[in-house]
Amino acid sequence: MGLDIRLPIGLLFLTLGGIVSIEGVLSSADIYIRSAGIDINLYWGLCMLAFGGVMAFLGQRGTNRMGEEMLAHESKSVEALAFEHAAEEREDRPHQSPNQGARPGV
């Protein structure tokens, strides 16, 4: 709907991944006793950055494509749009034939 959801997800994970990794780098080793000595902030932060990067990339590409589609949509003639819309409706609408009687064809 004009906004590819992958973009905000990507940006959120880039931001959170950044915060958590920086905390992982700056924090002292003694807070990691609970996590068995593993610098979980740094490692998980980097994983989140990677995930965020991929999502943001896909999201940006998706948003661009949506923008192109909207421009193409606007430049079509009214008749062409009505024709397309009717074809789509026929795909989704249940069969409207005036068949009498039950035919268990399914």
């Binding site: 906004l3 905000p8 959120l12 994970f13 958590v20 979980i40 998980w44 039950a102």
Partner: protein
């Protein structure tokens, strides 16, 4: 749980994004279709993740971990039996009717298929229940924030924490739904899904590491904890005290199908899909993470039980497992476990002393497993992430209920009975207003639940009465063209009534007559039928209610006039052409995905049997 500025920053960033998404979508909310149905433009994967995320409230996350600690892997039945088959069924067999009928809601499908009074019954009961559910989510979140003393570092006391929590959660959810409608709710649910994984996956990994991996976990727990089908032949062979028939038919069929196939909260997300094929795929796509969630939510419970064997029920002891000398086991590496930071702690009474049962043993508070584990394993930084994941799961539950409410209110109650024939702009305005009063009523419900302890139990009881018969009505409606409106209405009525009667005539073992049941028996001077456990009572109650509804609907339908078949085209299986899938390759057909999902679910059942 002590949080630092970094943790609060993470929570704040999340809130900013959630509101930002709502704001970015504001300009796209031009029609009621945009607002209530996300423009029917959602890609299948987006709607699929929203489907699962709307269902996954924090109560499920915390509740499943609690069940895992108390019952072991048998808790997975709630997923692999209690969800997957129903999700496959609704995707393959029911979405063609929900989506194809162009109904805006589940009650509207009932109006098209049956009649106005059936719709009214379903719309009113659903609207009330969904607002109360949202209120329960708000209450649970506020209570959790209080009990974790989260806001105390900001100078907010115990009592005030409750009010602030309700206010902030209510305002944020209200804002993003008011601005962006269902699309905003769906987008935020997808966001919340990824956050939940990001917050809980490291917890599971660290926890498993600390018990010595899967083998270490197995060595520390009784056999019955690690097997889901062990002892399911009889009621006393397993910890749930349910035998396989009650489990499969009560949970697996009636309750599970009753929820996944008829609850508008989840069906709404599938109805927002961009095409029929997408709509059918939505529940199937959702089934995949649903199958894998036990690893994320049940496993922490097992880990907590392994490190706190004092909390393992006595009856779980089996040959080959001896309860360790001490009630606490030390993790393989990491901080020492003490009474203060134990993963499962005893419930305390008003004087702060641990409560004890008849045998003098502690009564443990399993519900706090997840928050206790977050506080134990996570250092500041990732702690903020874990907390945000928990808050996100509460809020996605609330938002799901509120969008379902504003849609059912506007289309099925307001537009049908109060003001017909108004403009689209008017109904869009009404939808926004409904969001406002939906949140206000939820907050009121949250305070009510907080004031009277038994209300939550009473509400859950009422929900189960209403849900149990529903699937019978839909099953007959979609697959039997002879079912009539009179049949459906009285079937629902009697089925709900039957559930209440069953509750009144039965009692779980060890409970007193009252909210747990038996009230009708005592009124009639009969002795109630005793079930081994609450769950057994609930599952069998569901079976009775469903059967009552089914039989009543069939009998009354046969003695009332049928509908003309032309009117039922697209609403009943035998009068609807099969969805056109010839142009799709075999691999991309929904049926193929459905089969794959079922095979995986069976495999998981066998692996962990």
């Amino acid at each position: 749980m002590s949080l630092t500025a970094i943790d609060w920053l993470i929570v704040l960033v999340y809130f900013v994004f959630v509101l930002g998404i709502g704001y970015a979508l504001k300009k796209h909310m031009r029609t009621t279709t945009d607002f209530f149905m996300a423009g029917r433009s959602m890609p299948a994967w987006v709607a699929g993740l929203a489907f699962i995320s709307a269902n996954l409230g924090a109560q499920e996350v915390m509740g499943m971990a609690a069940s895992g600690a108390k019952y072991g892997i048998a808790t997975s039945h709630f997923y692999w039996i209690g969800a997957i088959p129903a999700m496959v069924f609704v995707g393959l067999f029911m979405m063609p009717f929900y989506y194809g009928s162009r109904a805006h809601s589940v009650p509207e499908y009932l109006r098209l298929r049956f009649d106005e009074k059936t719709r009214a019954f379903n719309a009113m009961t659903f609207a009330a229940m969904t607002v109360f559910s949202s209120g329960i989510s708000m209450f649970a979140m506020a209570r959790l924030i209080q009990d974790m003393h989260l806001l105390e570092s900001l100078g907010i006391g115990y009592a005030a924490s409750f009010h602030w929590s309700i206010f902030i959660s209510g305002t944020i959810v209200l804002a993003y739904i008011f601005l962006g409608g269902l699309t905003s709710a769906i987008y935020n649910e997808v966001l919340q899904f990824f956050l939940i994984v990001a917050g809980f996956l490291p917890l599971v990994l660290l926890g498993l590491h600390s018990v010595g991996g899967w083998h270490g976990l197995k060595a520390k727990l009784p056999a019955v904890y690690m097997s889901s089908w062990h002892g399911m032949g009889t009621t006393d062979g397993n910890l749930l005290h349910v035998e396989w028939f009650g489990l499969v038919m009560g949970l697996g069929f009636v309750l599970s199908f009753g929820y996944w196939c008829t609850d508008f909260l989840v069906v709404q997300r599938a109805m927002s899909a961009d095409s029929m094929v997408s709509a059918r795929r939505v529940p199937l796509i959702a089934a995949v993470p649903k199958m894998l969630f036990p690893a994320l939510v049940i496993l922490p419970g097992l880990i907590a039980a392994a490190l706190t064997p004092g909390a393992i029920p006595r009856e779980a002891a089996t040959a080959g497992w001896q309860a360790p000398e001490t009630a606490l086991v030390q993790p393989v590496a990491g901080e020492r476990i003490t009474r203060q930071n134990a993963l499962i702690r005893p419930l305390l009474d008003e004087r702060g002393q641990p409560k004890r049962d008849a045998d003098g043993r502690f009564i443990y508070d399993y519900n706090m497993v997840i928050p206790n584990m977050l506080a134990f394993y996570f250092p500041t930084g990732i702690l903020g992430l874990g907390l945000t994941a928990l808050l996100a799961s509460f809020m996605s539950g609330m938002a799901g209920n509120v969008t379902a409410f504003n849609t059912v209110w506007t289309y099925d109650i307001y537009r049908s009975y109060i003001r017909k024939g108004e403009t689209d702009e008017h109904y869009l305005w009404m939808g926004r207003m409904a969001t406002v009063f939906g949140i206000v009523f939820s907050a009121a419900a949250a305070y009510l639940v907080g004031a009277f302890n038994n209300i939550m139990d009473a509400l859950q009881m009422v929900f189960s009465f209403v849900n149990a018969p529903l699937f019978a009505t839909f099953l007959l409606g979609m697959f039997w063209k002879r079912a009539t409106g009179h049949g459906a209405f009285f079937g629902l009525l009697l089925g709900t009534f039957g559930a209440a009667v069953h509750h009144g005539l039965t009692l779980p073992s060890g409970s007193l007559v009252g909210i747990k049941g038996g009230w009708l028996a005592s009124l009639l001077h009969l002795s109630p039928h005793v079930y081994y456990s609450d769950m057994a009572q609930q599952f069998w109650g569901a079976i009775w209610a469903w059967t009552t509804c089914f039989l009543t609907t069939v009998l009354i339908s046969l003695i009332t006039a049928p509908r003309f078949e032309e009117d039922l085209k697209g609403l009943v299986y035998s009068l609807t052409p099969r969805p056109r899938e010839g142009h799709l390759s075999v691999l991309s057909r929904p049926a193929t995905l459905g089969i794959v999902v079922l095979v995986l679910a069976v495999a998981l059942n066998l692996i962990f049997a």
